[in-house]
Amino acid sequence: MPTMTYLEAISDALREQLRADERVFVMGEDVSAFGGAFKVTDGFVEEFGEQRVIDTPLAEAAIIGTAVGAAVVGMRPVCEMQFADFVACGFDQLVNVAGKAHYRFGLAVPIVVRLPSGGGFSGGPFHSQNPEAWFMHAPGIKVLAPSIAEDAKGLLTAAIRDPNPVVFLEHKHLYRRVKGEVPPGIYETPMTARVAREGSDLTVIAYGAMVHAALEATEQLDASVEVLDLRSLVPLDEAAILASVAKTSKVLIVDEANETCAAGAQVAALIAERAFEQLDGPIRRVATPDVPIPFSPPLEQAVLPSVDRIRDACRDLLDY
């Protein structure tokens, strides 16, 4: 089985869907001649042409709005926001136009909006955000956030084939840092959680880059720690979360996003409501405090959840 980086796996999914389905096209700022700010679509224009690999004006609302228009007349647009942060400029088109169309009059809007997200490399307040919770709170939008290369390919494939608007969070810090075996050919990864490591004493729930932080933090602990990779935030795999908590009775939830109303807050609420009787300790959370992501390395590292913070929280819980 070929080994690919997380980024190569995303490119692979896009390339295969462009080959397999003539309705698919990609568009965004600098995605064509330049191959995208992170080179996800490098070489695409040579294979697929400018009609299907479209450099757009710098206009996030129009990127998403025109994608909606193209989708409702039968296309399968995949939009790239150059950085996830910029989706704020297209928020209205996504939340009000795309997200509500099916509920209002049964109109499917099959678009994918790719969001290069996350911090850890001095991107500062406008190139580091994790905006997934904004869209979890907006009905009608699916929210995916893979952590490994195999899932990145399989979930992006599933997103492109899905009849709904899907925001696809691809963590920039994983792009070239994470490598893994990726099956050749077309396959879909289900929009469910994945047990990244089995364990029986404690469950750590995470997604995206934090899955890797959680695995590293719990590797040396003298305990059996289960790490659950959510992979999909909408739909949220409630059954997998509850099953893991039932098994371990202790749970730590890690978000790289700002703490208040983050995905992990929803997971905590779910567990508190549905698994209270199974718990043998408080639900603990590690997340980024509610501050913009600062630029300077010591400041940024002070706020992003670190391996040490996760490990300390695990120890506290195991000792509880």
Partner: protein, 361 residues
């Protein structure tokens, strides 16, 4: 067209109506001209009926209408082919009627009934019947300009001879989506028609507080023409949009058509219009689009009273049908957020203009 002397602080100067009202237009048969009148009569009768239902407490929420603006939606929609796609605004009921949405479904929509176009999930004119090739609007204006631009982009990518059309108001030209859509459509030379429905007020805000230069002037800066038509002359609106459609199909890109009209009612039914200068409504009342078309049709020897009576009877029957329809099942409120399976393609709406009928036959 004058630009520097334009003073939007005052109501927009209105282009003169054709002198020879009975003179046969180039592209419209007698049947077409009757159909234009019929659609406008139907729009006004439905909205009048719905307003009465609103005042009786049988239409929940708020009520918006396009009284006095009927020519803009009817004239523009009449120029569209069956495979064209459109995104009407909340004063464009006529577009839905031209495309063939049944009056009973529209009245049921206003009343929040299960048989309304959205089954009670959205209100008033916030609907689009997918089977008619119509995409429903959202209240954030002019978001649908971007959507229409995207539909046109798909048509161009696939090499299909189709256009997209959307309407938006004078107020909406102040938002960024106007710029993003105009620029995008201009850069890619897309087959899209933008109809600026200039009805003098955005809620209570007059043109003088909305822009320094009439937005039709902006079209040239985006690389395509902007034309102004008398928005109270349904045949003039039709001709302008038909020409824009021909340009679009010839690969010449978008057109901005400014239809100058007047919102004769308040922003919504609660609005007493105290901000409208005295005399302005009376002045525009003299230019009623239905009266004008009725005169033309009458001069062709058509019995317009009979036409009016038929429309009124149709609306009464529709109101009865809508009133008898059940309210939606509360259990339905949480269903249908996500689509499942392969999307159902949009249908082709009714396209009654004789030019299309001939082309098909």
């Amino acid at each position: 067209m004058e630009t520097s002397s334009l003073r939007p602080a005052e109501a927009r100067p209105v282009p003169a109506a054709p002198e020879d009202a009975a003179g046969a237009p180039a592209h419209l048969t007698t049947a077409d001209r009757i159909e234009l009148l019929r659609a406008m009569l139907l729009m006004r009768a439905i909205e009048a009926r719905a307003l009465a239902l609103y005042r009786q407490g049988r239409v929940p929420g708020s009520f918006y209408d396009g009284f006095g603006q009927e020519a803009v939606s009817v004239g523009a929609a009449f120029a569209l082919g069956p495979r064209d796609r459109l995104c009407p605004l909340h004063r464009d009921l006529g577009a839905h009627l031209v495309r063939g949405v049944a009056p009973a479904r529209i009245l049921a929509q206003y009343m929040g009934r299960a048989s309304g176009v959205t089954g009670g999930r959205d209100g008033n004119v916030h609907f689009g019947d997918p089977a008619s090739g119509v995409i429903g609007m959202v209240s954030m204006l002019p978001d649908m300009m971007c959507v229409a631009t995207g539909m046109a982009m798909a048509f161009k990518l696939r090499g299909e001879p189709r256009v997209a059309l959307t309407w938006f108001g004078d107020g909406a030209t102040s938002r960024g989506d106007f710029h993003e859509a105009m620029n995008w459509a201009g850069v890619q030379r897309l087959p899209v028609v933008f109809v600026l429905e200039n009805n003098q007020f955005a809620y209570s805000t007059p043109l003088s507080k909305q822009f320094a230069v009439d937005p039709v002037e902006r079209a040239r800066a985006y690389g395509f023409p902007g034309v102004t038509v008398d928005g109270n002359d349904v045949e003039a609106v039709f001709e302008a949009v038909l020409e824009a459609r021909v340009r679009a199909l010839a690969g010449e890109g978008p057109t901005l058509v400014e239809a100058v009209t007047m919102r004769m009612h308040g922003h919504a039914a609660h609005d007493d219009m105290r901000y409208v200068p005295p005399g302005l409504l009376a002045e525009w009342g003299e230019r009623d689009p239905i009266e004008r078309q009725q005169q033309r049709v009458a001069e062709l020897g058509i019995d317009v009273d009979a036409l009016r009576a038929a429309v009124d009877a149709e609306v009464e029957a529709a109101a009865a049908e809508a009133s008898a329809a059940p309210m939606p099942d509360p259990a339905d409120a949480v269903r249908g957020v996500f689509a499942e399976g392969e999307p159902v393609p949009l249908g082709d709406g009714r396209a009654p203009w004789s030019g299309f009928v001939e082309a098909l036959s």
